[in-house]
Amino acid sequence: MAEITHKNEGHQFLSFYLKNEMFAINVGYVREIIEYTQITRVPMMQSFIAGVTNIRGNVIPVLDLSGRLGLGISDISKKSCIITIETTIADEETEVGIIVDMVDQVYDIDPSHKMEAPEFGSKIRKDFMQMMAKVEDRFITLLDMEGILDIVELSRVTRKRNV
């Protein structure tokens, strides 16, 4: 896990909306932002694994971020985007797409404006949150991609009724 922490070092964060709530991830992870494109569902996976898609000839997995955070599966609209993330999963450089409802902008967040995520009272799991930040009088949840992209949880295959 140490190899991906450097992606957390910068102070720039890409913000986006999920179910009208604002979240952000460190731009160190972001490779590109593309329009929502056709996704092929992969059977027997958990519902927040949207499937796979073709990005420049590579087949990459796509995660429904809202679903993963427990906020319910995304409603795809014209503003829906896929942010492609570069990360190391099980020692392998991997590209993963995440679906967001709408991309907002990149914020410079001064470390002094960051604060610990609340101990309780948040509807998303604590290990998905890195920090909270106050930007323009609003709170943004800075997401922890390590927890979100945990391979053990992502790769879990759902139980099929016949097996």
Partner: protein, 669 residues
């Protein structure tokens, strides 16, 4: 030879080349053992040793050179018929080959910065002594001194040499003096005269050109080949006149000149070198480059599929025609590119001869290895990954399968182990069969309960019981030997084969023997696929496995009465409803189709919605997130840019076979 050469830069290449040569050495030695002495074979062994010594010498791997040199001397004597090749000598040479391999591996692992371990020097001393005894020579020194002692085995001779380097030698980055320095280092006496008569006047002088020639007389224990090898890198452009200064009747000179008529090769050995050069016209290419090429062709196949689709949409006859020509050519190119990766399995099989020989000797068993289908081709990556599992199976067969000669009853005292390979329906089948005591399913069953692998009273088919031996922690050997029986190994077999998308079947009869039947995909990169649609998703079935497609009529649906099979021309065809299994949404008006596939000698039907026909498929791995997903082996990109999923037929078949009946377990069409 030149101090500027850095070992770490070429270590990988050196290792690969040496291992290849050592493998050739083993193959030749094994062949001599089986078929008797053969000049060509012993020459090949000699050449391998010689080349390794040469390469090792270049990078100053003295402990490799020293040891290899003694072996080479002995081989030279064998080659000249002065020492007779016996089975014992063959074994000694095989042991030497192993030791050379260890030395090379050690040198590479330590970057030649460490002195060999005591274990290595001890073996060098022991084998060196054995070699020298055979040679009829006394070893004067031990251990680290071996190399010196070895070189002294060959008596010193006086040589004269006329040496003129090419003018450009320095421009090519060589330092002529370093070659001479190397020669001097290996000579007891060394005298050189420089002939400067060719040096032009100052104004015409090219400062980077080499004008001087050398007259050298020296005394050394090196052979003629060794001396010429010093100049190996620049040999093509250098004129070397080498003669032995002893007043013997011998052809005096061996001249090598560039771009001129090849001087007549006098020695038989040079002639052999030429033969070898012709036989083995191969180019060593980095596997990554081939993978890249195959990937690029794959991209092109995808792009072309798009062009085909558009040309059809445009309904332009001429365009369709042209596009189809391009498609055909692309198909050929793809085929050729895939061929590059293909190797014959024989090479791998040959490696097992040694294992069989060594093990059977150790255990006091008499076992003959029979190899069939050595010319069967499969992907190099697959061969590499299958070697380990095969070794485990073979060891097991020799250790536990085949009985001691006295226990073989009415069977011939000599056991037979057969390796067979052949192509079958887009897969490669490898069979390892022994005529040993076979597997006792009752005993295995009891043992598995004892080990807690299965529950008391569990109902298992014979095949399932046999497969228990592939489970981790399952060992039936009464005594743990150092070969097998520790319960590790056979589970590696299962794991590796599954990782290759292959499958394993075990057949056995008590008292008659056991067969391991391994099925593997031909290649890991591209397959011909058959495109179908289930719900909203496109799926690809490997075309080689598809037998036919039939429409599932309503009448037939009724006749199924909720069972999961149909009557196909008088035989029962078990069915799998892909849509149900994968929870695909049902399209209202979809007529069901059945794709009949054959796998492992049986037929199965997959129920799908729509059929689209053949499709060239570049396999794109799905990545770690989908590692636990069974039934899908990968993905591919369609002409439209959409991703289709590749069905893993072996997995789905085993899923069908897992049906044990009962309506709650079945969801029919």
């Amino acid at each position: 030879m030149s101090s500027g050469m850095n070992f770490s830069d070429i270590a990988k290449e050196f290792r690969e080349e040496s291992l290849e040569l050592l493998e050739a050495m083993e193959t030749s030695l094994m062949s001599i053992r089986e078929n008797g002495m053969d000049d060509e074979m012993i020459n090949a062994v000699f050449r391998a040793a010689h080349t390794i010594k040469g390469a090792a010498g270049m990078y100053k791997l003295d402990f490799v050179v020293g040891f290899t040199h003694i072996a080479e001397n002995l081989l030279d004597q064998v080659r000249n018929g002065k020492i007779e090749m016996t089975d014992e000598l063959g074994e000694l040479l095989l042991e030497c080959k192993d030791h050379m391999q260890n030395l090379v591996e050690f040198a590479v692992a330590t970057n030649n910065e460490e002195a060999p371990t005591t274990e290595l020097t001890d073996t060098t001393a022991r084998l060196g002594e054995a070699l020298c005894t055979t040679l009829g020579e006394e070893m004067h020194h031990h251990g680290g001194e071996t190399s010196k002692a070895a070189i002294e085995v060959c008596a010193d001779k006086n040589w004269t040499m006329k040496l003129s380097f090419a003018r450009e030698v320095m421009e090519q980055g060589f330092e002529p003096a370093s070659f001479l320095a190397h020669l001097r280092k290996n000579s007891t006496a060394f005298e050189s005269h420089v002939d400067t008569s060719a040096v032009p006047l100052m104004e015409e002088l090219e400062p980077t050109a080499c004008y001087v020639t050398f007259d050298i007389s020296f005394t050394t224990g090196l052979s003629r080949e060794d001396i010429l090898d010093v100049f190996e890198f620049i040999r093509d452009d250098t004129t070397i006149l080498l003669s032995e200064a002893v007043a013997e009747v011998k052809p005096a000179a061996l001249a090598q000149t560039a771009n001129k008529e090849e001087p007549k090769k006098i020695s038989a050995q040079s002639a052999n070198t030429q033969v070898q050069a012709q036989n083995a016209y191969t180019i060593r290419v980095d596997a990554e480059k081939i993978d890249q090429l195959i990937n690029q062709i794959g991209e092109m196949v995808i792009a072309n599929a798009n062009v085909v689709q558009q040309s059809i949409d445009m309904k332009n006859g001429e365009l369709i025609e042209s596009v189809s020509i391009v498609s055909r050519m692309l198909e050929d190119i793809r085929e050729s590119a895939m061929q590059i990766r293909m190797v014959q399995i024989g090479e791998t099989f040959n490696r097992f001869k040694r294992i069989v020989m060594d093990l059977s000797k150790k255990l006091g068993k008499d076992i003959e290895l029979v190899i069939k289908g050595a010319e069967t081709e499969l992907d190099k990556t697959v061969t590499e990954k299958i070697t380990d599992p095969l070794v485990h199976i073979i060891r097991n067969a020799i250790d536990h399968g085949i009985e001691m000669p006295s226990d073989r009853g009415s069977k011939s005292a000599k056991g037979t182990l057969t390796l067979n390979a052949y192509h079958d329906a887009g897969t490669v089948v490898i069979e390892i069969t022994d005529d040993g005591k076979g597997l006792d399913d009752e005993m295995l069953y009891r043992k598995a309960i004892e080990k807690g692998l299965i529950e008391e009273g569990a109902h298992l088919s014979q095949q399932e019981i046999f497969k228990l031996i592939l489970e981790p922690g399952f060992s039936t050997a009464p005594a743990v030997t150092d070969l097998s029986g520790r319960g590790v190994g056979m589970d590696v077999v299962k794991r590796n084969i599954e990782a290759l998308r292959g499958n394993i079947e075990i057949k056995s009869r008590v008292g008659e023997g056991t067969s391991f039947i391994i099925r593997l995909p031909l290649t890991l990169a591209i397959i011909d696929g058959f495109l179908v649609k289930v719900g909203e998703t496109f799926y690809v079935i490997p075309l080689d496995m598809v037998v036919e497609c039939i429409e599932l009529s309503d009448r037939e649906k009724e006749e199924m009465h909720g069972n999961n099979y149909i009557n196909l021309r008088g035989t029962i065809l078990p069915l799998l409803n892909v849509g149900d299994l994968f929870d695909e949404q049902k399209t209202a008006d979809a007529r069901a189709n059945i794709v009949v596939v054959h796998y492992a000698g049986r037929r199965y039907g997959f129920i799908v919605d729509e059929l689209f026909g053949e499709f060239q498929t570049v396999i794109k791995p799905l990545g770690k997130i989908f590692a636990d997903l069974h039934g899908i082996s990968g993905s591919t990109i369609l002409g439209s840019g959409k991703v289709a999923l590749i069905l893993d037929v072996p997995m789905l078949v085993s899923y069908i076979l897992s049906f044990k009946g009962g309506s709650d377990e079945m969801k029919s069409a």
